[in-house]
Symmetry: C2
DNA sequence: ATATCAATCAATCAAATAATTGAATATTGT
DNA sequence: ACAATATTCAATTATTTGATTGATTGATAT
């Protein structure tokens, strides 16, 4: 009977959107989807969850408006519904970094090398790409690279570094990137390259942020 | 024993931040705090929740890093910890507006007059304020006005409109604003003013957004 | 038609969350 | 010291949420 205030009704809806991101596994799925459109099984494999569980989480996010799906033959492909989802994730990350002690602790423990690796900003990388004196390596898996990547980037997943070493131009400085600021792939890549005498640094974040910033891409 | 991946650990923390916003009442508290620093009892009264319940929700958000508190005598004052909290709320709102059918339905039902009221954008208002040909009315309660407001705005809560009517300059166009895009106070104010023959419009959103945009304010 | 595969659904159990109540703390004023 | 006030804490109950399992649907290929 009680007709509630419209504001309360709206907050209930917005809270439902927030609930849909408020889970460890769903954040991981969103990070994966930020690399490009993916089907359920691949997402399940990449996150280590069961297919049924993955499907349920995806549907929950779809109901909340975070993602959309498209059926193609036997496969259902999911994708982010809106660039605002990236804004949402960015805000969450920023708040966590600045105001949650645990986050700082984890970063210090696992990403200590961060400072030493002197990450390259997006604008700096863009400038150096124009000068052509930098080699950009995308460390993500092939399928993510194929969904979109930086111009002139070459795709070298960690396990393929050995095989590709000989082909690398030893004169250019290398900049490696992957899924985002806390994706460890580019950290590992830079460490391995430096161990072999290359001059290598990380991009400050990853593909989703580059794309969201409206910088030039190859799709 | 299993030491989990750092990314997983970070996502757990970010999910905790998201959980802290993922509740109707907590969103309402955040909206209230976006107007300025407030103590527990006032927040409880404004949201219609019990003091104990309000306190618990506030502590939950504090643990998650969304808000901070400060003790002054008998009172505990809470405030948003970071402008990124406003970004988070803005992203939630945007996703809800664009991708949740219910939101659209609620807006159509309760805010139908929205289009007719032709809201004024922040930049348009700013320009007209410089020309000095507009009267800006802040429709929020006194305490929220006192915590900060637009330059040259006068504070007229709805219940005081009658008493203040005579003092209004009938030649200027009026722009009313309150807490945000879905705050009904300014809608009501514009309707009442128009019923009395004034030329009146709404600001597209409210005080938190104006402040977040870095526009000139009076604090 | 039948087998195969991707994805979803339905049912279950375990765990986490929210609101309520009354007691407990901390600060101020008498 | 004592009472009054603002806030927090602790315990309880009802509700919601998440993971798992196995069955089911829908599309493709043989």
């Amino acid at each position: 009977m009680s007709s509630e205030s419209p504001k309360r009704l709206l907050f209930r809806q917005f809270a439902a959107v927030a609930k849909a991101v408020a889970h460890e596994h769903r954040l991981e799925l969103l990070e994966a989807l930020a690399q490009g459109e993916r089907n359920v099984e691949l997402l399940a494999n990449r996150t280590g969850m069961s297919v049924a569980n993955t499907s349920q989480h995806l549907q929950q996010m779809r109901r909340a408006g975070l993602i959309e799906s498209r059926r193609e033959g036997k496969f259902t492909f999911y994708r982010l519904s809106d660039p605002a989802v990236l804004d949402l994730l960015a805000a969450l990350t920023r708040i966590g970094e600045r105001h949650v002690g645990e986050v700082d602790k984890i970063v210090r423990t696992y990403f200590l090398s961060r400072d030493e690796l002197e990450p390259v900003s997006r604008s700096e990388l863009l400038a150096r790409m124009k000068d052509g004196d930098v080699l950009v390596i995308d460390v993500r898996p092939q399928d993510e690279f194929a969904s979109g990547h930086l111009p002139n980037a070459i795709n070298i997943p960690l396990e393929e570094l050995e095989a590709q070493l000989a082909t690398l131009d030893t004169k250019k400085e290398i900049v490696a990137y992957c899924r985002g600021a806390y994706c460890v792939l580019s950290f590992d890549m830079v460490e391995r390259l430096r161990a072999r005498g290359f001059k290598a640094r990380r991009l400050e974040d990853g593909w989703p942020e580059w794309q969201a910033a409206g910088l030039p891409v190859v799709v």
